[in-house]
Structures are given as C-alpha cells and as structure tokens.
C-alpha cells in the first residue's frame, strides 16, 4: 500500500515525519502547479468548488508516481466536502485507476478516537494505541509549531528591514521541523527558529496595516490556492492575521467537540444578529469575525471563497448588513481555475491603497477632534 494525502497548508510537515518514523511507504503529491489544476479541472464536475479540483489534481499526480491509496478527511455537513470521497473514487476509477482506494476519515464521528482508528487502519494493527496517539499528538505539535512561526512571520514581513531575510528563514522551517522526530528535537528546533526570527532587524518607521483573512478553510490556509496572498500583502506593508489554522481546527474538532465545547461562542454571538444559524462551513466565522475585527480596529478584511462555495455565498450575502453597523472595508476574492495573478494583485494593491487612505483620514479626524 502506497498512501497519498492531498496538500493543505502545512499538513505534509507532520505527515512526512509520521511516514518516516513508521516506515510506511507514502507518496507526497508533487507541489501543486498549473498542471495539477489542469488535471483536476479536466476530470471534475464543471462547477464543483476549486478545492475539489486541486485535490483531484494532487491525487492524479501522486498516483502517477505510484500511489494506490488516497487518504483524506471528510465532514458530512451541508457543505459538499462530505461527498468528496465518493466522487473521487468514482472519478479515479473512470479515469482508469481501477485499483485506487479512497479512504476517508469523518471527523464528526468520534473525533480524535475516529482519527486514531483511521490512522491505525492505515499504519497497521501492530501499532499500539499509545503509539498511535503519540504520533497524532506529535503531528499536531509539529503543525502547531509551524503555524505559530507563521504567525510570527506574518508579523515580521511588514516590519522587517529586509523582507527577504524573513522569507529565507521561513523557508528553512519546514525541513527542520520534519526532521524533528521527537519532543526534545522539536523543542530545540523551536528555540533555534524563534531565535533566528527575533534576530531579524526591524524597521522602526514601519506602520503596517492590519488585515484579517477569512473565508473558506482550504483557500485561506493553502498558499498555492490563494496565490501566496499573505506574502504579497506582507511585501506591501500589511500585517496579515487569520483564524483558520490546522492546529486550531484539530483543537476544536478533534478534542473540544468531544466534550461539546467545540464552537467559539464569542464569534457565534457576534454573528448572531446577521446569521442566526450555523449553515456549516465557515460562514458563521466569516460573519462573526468580521464584526469582531471591526470592533478591534482592524484596517480591513479579505474574504476568500472558492467559486460556488455554498456557505461562503451566504456569508457574502449577509455581510453587507453587518457592515452597515460595523465600519470596516471588505474585499471579496472568489477563487477558481480562471484566476490570473496579475488581475488579482491589481485588486489587492487597490485595496491596500484604499485602507491606507482610510487610515490617514481617520487619524486626521482623530487629531482634529
């Protein structure tokens, strides 16, 4: 059995270590490229969402390298994700990969217990439960470290004297964290990387804008899908923040949900006047976080969604009503295979200009008052 798993943010950082430690043969899909997208689009239903197409492309490219089993997560809710696995298997069989199996882990059944069972079914019965939970815990720690460093990088990009220096350090993070096979090694890597990042000289005149990215999980966390939006914004003097993180997701859906504390009450309360029901996906977070960030004085919001994403269309429809009560600029970016980076960057630059002018105006008004 040769397993493959789709790319999603820094997910493969943990998977590399897991498969190295267990000696399971796994195939990482080649980094997503235009070819990945073309393959995915060719075999996908026309108006299914972009994440489906990119992941299908990942699978095909991994199968070309010899993978015969696809492992993925699914969450049967009102969003289409719950139907992905079935559709992938049919599609891959129709393409001619008749022996490929698609295994899906449903995070809404049994949460962390379900993940442990799923992982054991892939790794083999010879692993003790204690080992399995150890692997999962270490993986989550690796991703959490990766993402905590990324938060630091988001902070440094607009403030560093040399933006490239930050990127150079950041590029070394993944291989070093992958090489950390145990708790001690991970701790050492954390100290090193944190030290290197805090040694980056800062520009004291930097006055970064604060922008929050929100929207559909996959397009927010995956730099290929959102065309390196965070880097591009960072270069233009924007401190980007976001609330979609794999480690955070794991905390909520794998652990807290088990004892019924999964949802962020504060966000739900903030969203309630505009969206009173959890329509699944991230819609309620999109609305709630927009309200909260406006109250916190953020300069802007960038809302990312794949074309035809059902929950985010609802969010986008109700947001104007929330924005009547809360003053914050919002830019909507709808992502699909037709996107060109140039057009997209023009819009992002215009939005950055808009936020700058707005901030200057607000500061003047405050000064006059």
């Amino acid at each position: 059995m040769k397993v493959t798993v789709p790319h999603a943010g820094h997910l493969w950082v943990a998977l590399h270590t897991l498969f190295e430690r267990t000696g399971i043969e796994a195939i990482e899909p080649p980094p997503s490229t235009q070819r990945t997208v073309s393959l995915g689009v060719r075999y996908s239903p026309e108006w299914i969402c972009f994440p489906f197409k990119v992941m299908l492309g990942n699978f095909i490219e991994a199968i070309e390298l010899g993978a015969d089993t696809v492992a993925m997560a699914e969450g049967p809710m009102l969003c289409r994700l719950g139907y992905f696995a079935k559709l992938y298997e049919q599609t891959l069989h129709d393409i001619g990969y008749a022996n490929v199996r698609v295994l899906a882990f449903n995070w809404q059944d049994e949460q962390i217990v379900g993940l442990a069972k799923f992982l054991r079914s892939i790794l083999g019965e010879e692993y003790r439960w204690r080992d399995i939970t150890g692997f999962i815990w270490h993986g989550i720690q690796q991703i959490a470290l990766m993402e905590n460093l990324e938060k630091r990088v988001q902070y440094l990009r607009p403030r560093a004297r040399d933006c490239q220096q930050v990127e150079r350090i950041w590029a070394t993070a993944a291989p070093r964290i992958i090489a950390a096979h145990d708790k001690k090694a991970l701790k050492a890597v954390r100290h090193e990387l944190e030290g290197e990042l805090s040694a980056v000289p800062l520009d004291s005149r930097a006055d970064p804008l604060r922008v929050h990215l929100l929207g559909e999980f996959f397009v927010v966390i995956d730099p290929f899908v959102n065309m390196d939006l965070e880097v591009e914004l960072g270069k233009r003097g924007v401190h980007v923040t976001r609330s979609r993180w794999i480690a955070e997701w794991a905390k909520i859906w794998l652990f807290l949900e088990l004892i019924g504390l999964g949802h962020d009450k504060k966000v739900k309360r903030a969203a309630h006047p505009y969206l009173s029901r959890d329509v699944s996906g991230e819609a309620i977070y999109t609305v709630g976080e927009t309200v909260l960030r406006a109250q916190e004085g953020y300069d802007g919001i960038i809302h990312l969604q794949p074309f035809t994403c059902m929950p985010e269309i609802i969010a986008q429809n109700v947001l104007p009503r929330a924005l009547q009560d809360h003053d914050i600029p919002v830019m909507y970016l709808v992502i699909d295979e037709q996107m060109g980076k140039a057009g997209y960057m023009t819009r992002v630059e215009a939005f950055v200009d808009l936020m700058r002018r707005r901030r200057t105006r607000i500061r003047k008004e405050v000064a006059i008052a």
Binding site: W47, P76, K86, L87, Q90, L275, S280, T308, I314
Partner: protein
C-alpha cells in the same frame, strides 16, 4: 386577520398545501406571490451577490413582492434535513437570514427550523411551534396541523399518480386553473396511441428530472414542460416516481441518500434510466447549484455507463429561450430517430 405571505418559489411546490391548510386553519390569511415574472426576477437579482444560484435570487424577488403587498409576516422555513441523516443545501438553512439581509424592509419573518436528526425539530414539531406563534390554543394548533398533514399526504399521493404539483394544487383547490395557465397542461400525460402493431407511432417518453422549483417555474426554465408537450412528448417528473423506485435509483447511482432534495433527483434519474419505457432523461439544474454540481456528475456518469440518452439543461438569468428550444428539439429529434431505428 393576520396576513402571511408565502413566496411562490423553492419549497412552494413541495409544501404549499401543507402550509396553506395550517395557516388558514389557524385563522390567518395566506397571500401567495404570483408566478415568477420579469419584475420579480429583477427584484431578486438586484440585491443578491452574483454567485448566488438563480432559484434563491428568484426567491428574494418573491419576498420583495410580498413585502410590497403589505403582508404582516413572511413564512420562510429553514430546512436542514427532512428525514434522518440527509443534508440540505446550506442556502436553504440560511434562507431566513439571506432574505433579512437582502430584501430591504423585509416584513417580520415567521421561520421554522426543521432538522429531522433532532426529535424536537421534525417537520411536525417545527410547524407546531410556528402554529403556536399564531394561536395560543394548543388543541386548535394540533387540529389544524393534523388537517394540514393529511392534505399534504393526499397532495403527495396525487403527484405519485401522475399529476404535476400545479395540477394537484388546482384539483385540491389551492390554485385557480386560470391562475397559472402556462403551467397547467390538461393533455399532459397523453394516452399511448397506436402501439406495437402499427398505426401511429407511440409518443416519446422523456423523464424530466430536477428540483421542482426548476421544473415547474415556467419563467425560469422557459416553459420546458409545455414545449415538450407541444413536441408530442409524454413527460414524467420526479414526483411521479414511486418511493421504492427512488430508493433503488439512489442505491444504484450514488449508494446513499446524501442531499435531501437532490436524492429525489438522483433517485428519479436512476429509476427512469432503468425503465425501458422511458426514451430519454433531461436534467434541469440552476447554474452554480452546489449539490447539483455533484449529483449531475453522478447522473451523467450512469447515463454513459448504461448508454442511455441524457441531456442536461443549465438555467441561469442569462439563458436565452432560443438556445433551450434548439437543444430540446434536437434531443427529441434524436430520440425519435433512435426509436424508429430500433423498431
């Protein structure tokens, strides 16, 4: 008397007799918006985000019409699931919030939360809760609800016997026959003429599968039903498929019932694919429909594997009448040639 507005869109085709009987039983007046027309559609398109699917945009137009008609309440259900573990499109769950946000000056919304996976939120319990907002008298609510449910079952049985929702509603007295003339086709299911022996060739039979709000909203779909009837085609729809046929169809095509209303579409397609009396299947879907993006793929795949004649018609606010007519005619011609050949 309280006037409750019900939009003639989305769930109307499945549940109007149920809602109407319940609300009138509790002493309210039920106001219904007219069949979709250009003004209603324009009203709906004005406020909504462009990516929203056409049926939801149209729904907003109907809500705006009811607002202008001065109703006291607008009844907008939020349906999460109808039977057990299935799921509905999230847009249907967000419908009350969507309308509140996009229809300016929207009257108060009488909403119900239907979620069959929770015992306190089944369709009956949800309707009971809505009824209690109209009348404090529990016995009266229960009586009205019982009457409404029995009407609903009769309505469903009539559709299984081969009536379209419009025909059934006219027969039950919920609509006037002349109210929606273009949706009412008495010669809708013509008896077979001739037969195997000779004489006139038997008419073609086409199964038209899709959501009721795509199939029966004659403005959105450019009156497909009537056009097919004019071409001499006998038409079957999802509602006319027997329940066990639907279940078998779903099992064959997708294995499980995942989406509440798409299940009916897939099941009906599966049922009609297996029926040798059906010459071809046409699926009608709205552009950008989330669930249909997966379900049409499943139907199309089966059509290919079983070599059945199949066509999908995608409708949106830009779809032109001429294009649809041309495709319908071409499909019917193809089926007729095929039938003549195999004879």
């Amino acid at each position: 008397m309280i006037r409750i507005g019900t939009p003639r869109a989305l769930f109307f085709y499945q549940y109007y007799p149920l809602w109407h009987t319940l609300f009138t039983g509790l002493g309210a007046e039920v106001v219904i918006s007219p069949p979709t027309n250009r003004e209603i559609m324009a009203g709906g398109l004005a406020g909504m985000v462009a990516e929203t699917c056409l049926p939801v945009k149209t729904y907003a137009g109907h809500v705006a019409w009811l607002r202008d008609a001065g109703v006291d309440w607008i009844f907008i259900p939020a349906i999460r699931s109808i039977c057990g573990t299935d799921f509905n499109c999230s847009k249907f769950l967000g419908l009350p919030d969507l309308m509140q946000a996009n229809v300016k000056g929207c009257p108060p919304i009488l909403d119900i939360d239907v979620d069959a996976s929770k015992p306190e939120r089944t369709l009956e319990r949800a309707l009971q809760a809505a009824g209690l907002r109209l009348s404090k008298d529990r016995r009266r609510v229960d009586a009205a609800l019982a009457a409404a449910l029995s009407t609903h079952h009769r309505y469903q049985a009539m559709m299984r016997d081969g009536l379209t929702p419009m025909q059934a509603m006219v027969q039950l007295g919920f609509l006037h026959a002349d109210e929606a003339p273009s949706t009412f086709h008495p010669p809708f299911t013509p008896p077979f003429q001739g037969g195997a022996g000779g004489g006139k060739a038997s008419p073609l039979t086409i199964a038209l599968v899709g959501h009721p709000y795509c199939i029966y909203d004659t403005y959105l779909n450019h009156d497909i039903l009537k056009r097919l009837a004019r071409l001499g085609v006998r038409v079957l729809t999802c509602e006319m498929a027997p329940a066990e046929g639907l279940m078998q169809g779903i099992q064959r095509l997708s294995g499980e019932w995942y989406w509440t209303y798409e299940g009916e579409v897939v099941g009906a397609a599966g049922h009609y694919f297996a029926d040798p009396g059906v010459d071809g299947v046409i699926a009608v879907a709205a552009f950008g429909c989330g669930p249909d993006s997966t379900m049409l793929a499943v139907i199309q795949r089966t059509a290919r594997l079983e070599s059945r004649a199949y066509m999908s018609l995608i409708i949106d606010e830009h779809s032109g009448e001429a294009g649809i007519v041309t495709r319908l005619e071409a499909f019917v011609d193809m089926l007729a040639r095929r039938k003549a050949k195999t004879r």
